[in-house]
Amino acid sequence: MTNAARVFDALHDTTRRTVLERLRDGPKSVGEIANDLPVSRPAVSQHLKVLKDAGLVNDRSEGTRRIYQIDPKGLGAMRAWLDQFWDSALTAFAAEVERDRKNEEEPK
């Protein structure tokens, strides 16, 4: 999977978007993230792993706890978004050129 595809896949899930939102104001442990979320801690850990694989968060050990934070290189996600954006935009552009040509060729 491309980086962009991983990012999209990671953010496809509502719970994962919620998890990511929770990290906006700073690093948190799994327990803190899971607190009052309607999903189990193992499920939250699983979501965090997907976000980590997509390059959206990273983690470190602090004693027995694992602390997650938004990846400071999140610019990679921005670039991935632009990469995907221009891909879809240019594909749509080429399709429009094709449509335009067919319209021209149609006898009036």
């Binding site: 938004i70 990469d83 995907q84 552009f93």
Partner: protein
């Protein structure tokens, strides 16, 4: 000290089935016919983006309620071979006149068609903005807007085709 992130420019190439003149025309004057409707910055629904047809012109979004949102500028208008746009949207997808990233589009005859090369460069300048935002812990991050865009994108991938 924050390590500088230098992402590579985004580069795309596509061959379209038209002469450069027509390809340039559809890319610019016809942008409202192909620009994905989901990619917008205003609150209202997107009518169309507008690229003013001259160097120094505006590049903005026109919404269905008549409001306009700046995207950037036209730095070079050289039909039918080259267009240089300035993209001034931050990672939060808000317009920042102090942010200058470039989108260069060239149109090269290729057989009966045209090869369109697009390069979006100086993305690291968005990083400088992003770094500044991250350094302020209580400040608003770029994430909600970006997440919304991802979410919109995901929705449009799933359907809306009808």
């Amino acid at each position: 000290m924050t390590a500088q992130i230098r992402p590579a420019p985004v580069r795309k190439s596509i061959v379209v089935n038209a002469a450069p003149e027509r390809a340039f025309h559809i890319f610019t004057s016809g942008i409202g016919r192909w620009w994905p409707k989901t990619h917008k910055i205003g609150k209202a629904d997107l009518d169309r983006p507008v690229i003013e047809p001259h160097g120094g012109g505006r590049w903005y979004e026109l919404d269905v309620d008549g409001s306009e949102c700046e995207i950037g500028k036209v730095a070079a208008w050289e039909p039918p071979s080259r267009l240089l746009l300035i993209w001034q949207l931050t990672p939060e997808f808000t317009f920042d006149p102090g942010l200058v990233t470039e989108v260069e589009v060239t149109f090269t005859a290729d057989g009966a068609g045209t090869r369109v090369d697009l390069e979006h460069r100086y993305i690291e300048r968005m990083g400088e903005k992003a770094d500044a935002m991250r350094e302020s812990v209580s400040g608003p991050g770029g994430w909600p807007a970006l997440l919304q865009l991802y979410a919109d994108e995901t929705k449009s991938e799933k359907g809306d085709v009808a």
